[in-house]
Amino acid sequence: MKFVDEYRDADLGRALAAEIVTTVEPGRHYKVMEVCGGHTHTIYKYGVDDLLPANVELVHGPGCPVCVIPMGRVDDAIAVARIPEVIFTCFGDMMRVPGSAGTLLDAKAEGADVRMVYSPLDALRIARQNPGRQVVFFAIGFETTAPSTALTLMRAKAERVPNFSCFCNHVTIVPPLRALLESPDLRLDGFIGPGHVSTVVGARPFEFIPRDYGKPIVISGFEPLDVLQSVHMVLTQLAQGRCEVENQYTRVVPYDGNPRALEALAEVFELRPHFEWRGLGFISQSGLKLSAAYRDFDAESRYPVPGIRVADPKACQCGEVLKGVIKPWECKVFGTACTPERPIGTCMVSSEGACAAYYNYGRLARERQVV
């Protein structure tokens, strides 16, 4: 129990770890999925899993927005970025995600005007400053990030910025969870729910998990103690034969979410019939596109987007990692052909990706544990 010393309240951490031991049935194997990449990061960094009994397994989920973008969409993005009049803007992580023939960073090196932005509002400013060019924002992310894109588009529309558009790849969290719960190859006992997504959507959208699938879910904060406490809450529900949505992160997450953010989402976006997820395939009603009122700002209607479907490279097992079927280190190319410096798959790109998180901290944790 070495890592617990780094916790804000190490005593509480130890006490919780001890309590968890008494909560589990010794002969039973528990699989608890943490949905959000932020939690994966905390778990590896602070060795949360090392504090759990051997029969409690944390399984990583699909909640890393960079990780779930399929290769075909990266190729589409690069095709738009190569249009001479276009200034293509995106978050830093997306520049390093491999498409079938290189990354946006490669396209930039070959002359495409690709610029990293911190915020969609930075992209909008670039559009205002470059009236002679077309500025496209590569929008990615779950409901945490989508309201920011929505509010930016609302402003672009109000100010009639004619040369701004959005290549929308926003996704929603509930459909992939439903897909995982329907999948036969994964037996999960409960979920650690995403903290930041829930800030926007609230806890209510997760009620289907206990209602339709009989599993507990606990919305969790990001401190190691938060995650540990949330695991304890899931296991306690299981021990007591309860299953419900509980909110460990009440200090930030209101049960009904953020009404302003939800209004912005409803105003700007509508659900796509289906959207492709890396490794998970097409999931119906899981992606967002711009609503008819924002069609003028939709890069997909302004530009020919090839829309090719590209199979993941053979060596890549990101799909299995995103479904929690394998652990990062079980991928054949992990740490050899695929590293954060030269990623093959998306899970190695973002620091929230399970492979990158494990690469950066997990191995260290294992070594420290052995010592």
């Binding site: 992580d93 932005v117 945490t144 930030v252």
Partner: protein, 92 residues
Amino acid sequence: MCLAIPGQIVELVDPVNRLARVNVAGVQRTVNIAMVDGDDGGAVPGDWVLIHVGFALSKVDEAEAQATLRLLEQMGAEYELELAELKASVIE
């Protein structure tokens, strides 16, 4: 891009577009605060907010903000990168 960083609101700079200047780890930057325009009067100078891609996502109390900052500081490289990206941001 997944991080949410705490910042303290310094002043409202563009009431129409809901932009406020915030202090984030000693750097002052402009962010949009429309999402925290709740029924309780919205965010005012002195309030702490969690900032994600240039938007205040929610209000937090100071203790929560400090705890989150400490957690982020311990992340090292990723936090530094996020801060560098934030510093390069010019929202107007």
